[in-house]
């Protein structure tokens, strides 16, 4: 089984990526990078990462979230985060990245914020 499974769904012009697994150095980080690049290539620039089923993330995974955010911003898009687990929230606090990302607990609130 893959380290990280990413399912894609569309809500209007927002692409939601439901992520399930681990975002760690190697396979997990690469899967996220590849998906974000593909979406940007397809002109999908409003992206919501649902991290509710991501049980584990390391510094490489945090770095990949930052790279994804930067890559989407560069294309004048927006990347936001949904359903952070307590562990991921703690890691974003430790790294002082909580203020960088727009973070939501409710999908409908997150989707409205893109409008």
């Amino acid at each position: 089984m893959a380290e990280l499974n990413i399912s894609e769904r569309q809500a209007g012009d927002v692409t939601i990526l439901d992520m399930d697994g681990k975002v760690t150095i190697g396979e997990g980080s690469i899967a996220l990078r590849t998906t974000i690049r593909r979406l940007l290539g397809e002109g999908k620039k409003k992206i919501l990462l649902n991290l509710g089923s991501v049980g584990y993330i390391d510094s490489s995974g945090i770095g990949e979230l930052v790279s994804s955010f930067t890559a989407v911003n560069k294309e004048n898009g927006t990347l936001k985060l949904l359903n952070l687990t307590q562990k991921i929230q703690d890691l974003l606090a430790i790294t002082k990245l909580l203020t960088v990302f727009d973070v939501f607990d409710s999908e409908s609130d997150a989707l409205s914020s893109f409008e």
Binding site: I25, S59, S60
Partner: protein, 137 residues
């Protein structure tokens, strides 16, 4: 208390990181550490072995990462040695500094320091870098 010490040598490839994490968390679990401590050991081990494999040994599979796990009355001691050129830990930029916030890398040492009670780096007399970490009981 069950005193124990194990030594593991792993090749410098990314797969070794997971292997090292499993060895360390199994060891800590057998030594009676809490779930919270196991998560901390998992995080710190992952970052330190990733540093050794990627930055120290530069993914050169002919170079080993040497790991020692020790259970003592003080806690769990983890020693990791690579065979790279070494680095000065004080020269690693602070990833929480606003000018470094958007960097894709450089957070591993912060995680190691956050999740362990003590972390220290030194140069091995015969080359390579050693990191010693302690998780207290």
């Amino acid at each position: 208390m069950n005193k124990e010490k194990i030594e593991i040598n792993l090749p410098s490839r990314l797969e070794s990181i997971d292997k090292a994490v499993v060895e360390a968390t199994d060891f800590a679990s057998r030594a009676g550490f809490s779930e919270e401590a196991l998560y901390a050991v998992d995080m710190a081990m992952r970052e330190s072995v990733a540093n050794a494999v990627k930055h120290g040994n530069k993914l050169d599979e002919t170079k080993q990462v040497e790991i020692t796990l020790k259970n003592s009355s003080e806690g769990l001691e983890i020693i990791i040695r690579d065979f790279g050129a070494g680095f000065a830990v004080e020269e690693v930029p602070d990833p929480t500094n606003p000018e470094n916030l958007m960097r894709a890398d450089g957070r591993g040492i912060l995680f190691m320091k956050t999740f362990m009670d003590e972390v220290e780096w030194s140069n091995h007399a015969r080359g390579g870098m050693i990191v010693k970490m302690l998780k207290k009981r």
